[in-house]
Symmetry: C4
Amino acid sequence: MSESFPEIASSLVSIARDFHARGWLLGTSGNLSAVVQGEPLRLAMSPSGVDKGQLLPEQVLLIDERVQIVSDHVAKPSDESPLHICIVKERGAGAVLHTHSIWNTIMSDLHSGDGGIAIEGYEMLKGLQGVSTHVHREWLPIIENSQDMLELADRIGETLREHKAAHGLLLRRHGLYSWGSDLPQAKRHVEILEFLLETMGRTLLIGRKH
Amino acid sequence: MSESFPEIASSLVSIARDFHARGWLLGTSGNLSAVVQGEPLRLAMSPSGVDKGQLLPEQVLLIDERVQIVSDHVAKPSDESPLHICIVKERGAGAVLHTHSIWNTIMSDLHSGDGGIAIEGYEMLKGLQGVSTHVHREWLPIIENSQDMLELADRIGETLREHKAAHGLLLRRHGLYSWGSDLPQAKRHVEILEFLLETMGRTLLIGRKH
Amino acid sequence: MSESFPEIASSLVSIARDFHARGWLLGTSGNLSAVVQGEPLRLAMSPSGVDKGQLLPEQVLLIDERVQIVSDHVAKPSDESPLHICIVKERGAGAVLHTHSIWNTIMSDLHSGDGGIAIEGYEMLKGLQGVSTHVHREWLPIIENSQDMLELADRIGETLREHKAAHGLLLRRHGLYSWGSDLPQAKRHVEILEFLLETMGRTLLIGRKH
Amino acid sequence: MSESFPEIASSLVSIARDFHARGWLLGTSGNLSAVVQGEPLRLAMSPSGVDKGQLLPEQVLLIDERVQIVSDHVAKPSDESPLHICIVKERGAGAVLHTHSIWNTIMSDLHSGDGGIAIEGYEMLKGLQGVSTHVHREWLPIIENSQDMLELADRIGETLREHKAAHGLLLRRHGLYSWGSDLPQAKRHVEILEFLLETMGRTLLIGRKH
């Protein structure tokens, strides 16, 4: 590990505040995590029910792979922690970010019947890790929402195994999950996918003119 | 009371500035309150006609249940103070926030014929106090606007008694009222309802394509 | 005068930066003024061609009613200074603000054939000086754009005399002028009119559904 | 040269952060450059793959006309450096800015069949260097996107020679390039063109009503 827990907590808070300002984490929604140690897993995780625009580094929890708090906190990790842990394991991700934006909510609903959204032909795609041309076709799977977190984690696991090249996934009328090898890469992926979802949504509107 | 008036005034100002930056309190519109003491009622209340982006903690007034200033201020409490007091009493709320956003104005007009807006199927709903699933159906009542504040307070009282599960209400072409047990919860509710109103408004636009 | 030139320059800069952040003064567009002294007229005026997001109080010019600089500056007052002076004289205004927003540009074009926009039924209207009910009908005149500033000042003068109750006016595909007895009131009027233009523009879009 | 490399790097970073906040440089997209010395060319250039919201002046590279780093950095200049150098040479520009906004992406796609977008009749056009009236007709050429940077630089060169009055150009589904004699002028041009593209895009939507 090149970074310590306090440094990671600090970066995580900085992203939380930035995304809250953009309206992607309103109403205490969304959650953020980053791997502090791989074996055994130690995951820095945002607490449940906290205003992401006012999150403090000392509020960031450290949990293990069974979602038990191993840091010295009396708090509750996000309910969606099992989804983060699932993604970390399936993808070897170093960070997982989950946003609730207006455009990801709309697009996850509009395309739910297709099981996902194909994004292609945009230069912005090149910012996704391993993508080297705008000709790339990114498939962003959409999973039906559920309150059963273990079942949802199972379905996310299946989806990730089925779509090995995906850089993110949508929960219908719920939000976007994306990830990366570390927090900066995960942040980059979220910004790119949010940008592309809004661009495609607005294009649907304006495109009808022609 | 766990918090003193200066602490509450400070939190109230922080929310006012944040919401003003988002465009929800432009033109000195909107108002904010929080209970400092229950019996007899002492309510921290934003003054009338002040730029919410420049509000200072020392400008926050303390009023009683007859809207009389009990703090040492020569100022005028918001004209809508009776509406805040009504909500505090009907709901046992610890804080009441009133925003004028573009989307709450539009949606309050578009759905006024229905008497309210049904919001359901969104994960964001889970952030409303007592709601545990996105399957929840929130009814956001819409009340015709009026300049008679006492009459409006009466109608708000009736509406709150009729819709006991509501977390907010709209005044037509005017704005949103929401509340909570304290300022953070009320802020959370406003962010969630504003998010959902904008999401539903934009979905109406884009949904027509299909 | 209750305020000195340095204080007024400082308030003017604060508004310039806030409006630039909102996208209402991009590309060095727009201009701001405030009366420092009435007889003879001394007007604090933003200089021409300056980035409003980086304006400094010491860059604010002091001009007389013939647009001559009376402060110790080697600079050029805004080309539209005659329009500000015209409004100050016609309305007895203490401050004049001119914004270029996306929505005021669109709405000034869309309604140019009608010679203006009627705004009524919105609670936000109550923030306009002298308006006490949302039932108020505000007429926002639209004037064809021109590069002849003296001719434009003449037409603005005529329009203001014809529409004595107007709190602002639009130049077609150019921008909004609003004013007030002082800078805070002028800022309030701009925020309200910008809010209402965007609300009405978005309502046109969404309203077609029904 | 009136400014040193550290001063230029500092201005470049300030623009990068501002544009990132506006959503024009998300996901490490976009790049910025400014001429530090003309003969031989020394260009301050943003590094590849860096979060523009967190760019630091000491990360700004100095490159020569063959895209070789001449400053003391172990880093990679933006892949699109040849496009910047091409524009600097063809236009004698002192600064080149490249943004990825939602509206420039949409409009570059929508009008790609026309080979460009005609912008006329807007007061905002006057902020473009050398333009003195809103009657001006600006032609913003659109070039098909490519990953072959040398070929793309060639096509940009041809386009600039063909459209000598253009203040910017679009790469289809990729972004906007604009430039100026120095960083403030280039920033002004970007803000104006972004404003006009969004205004025209939204006008297309709303205009259909009539």
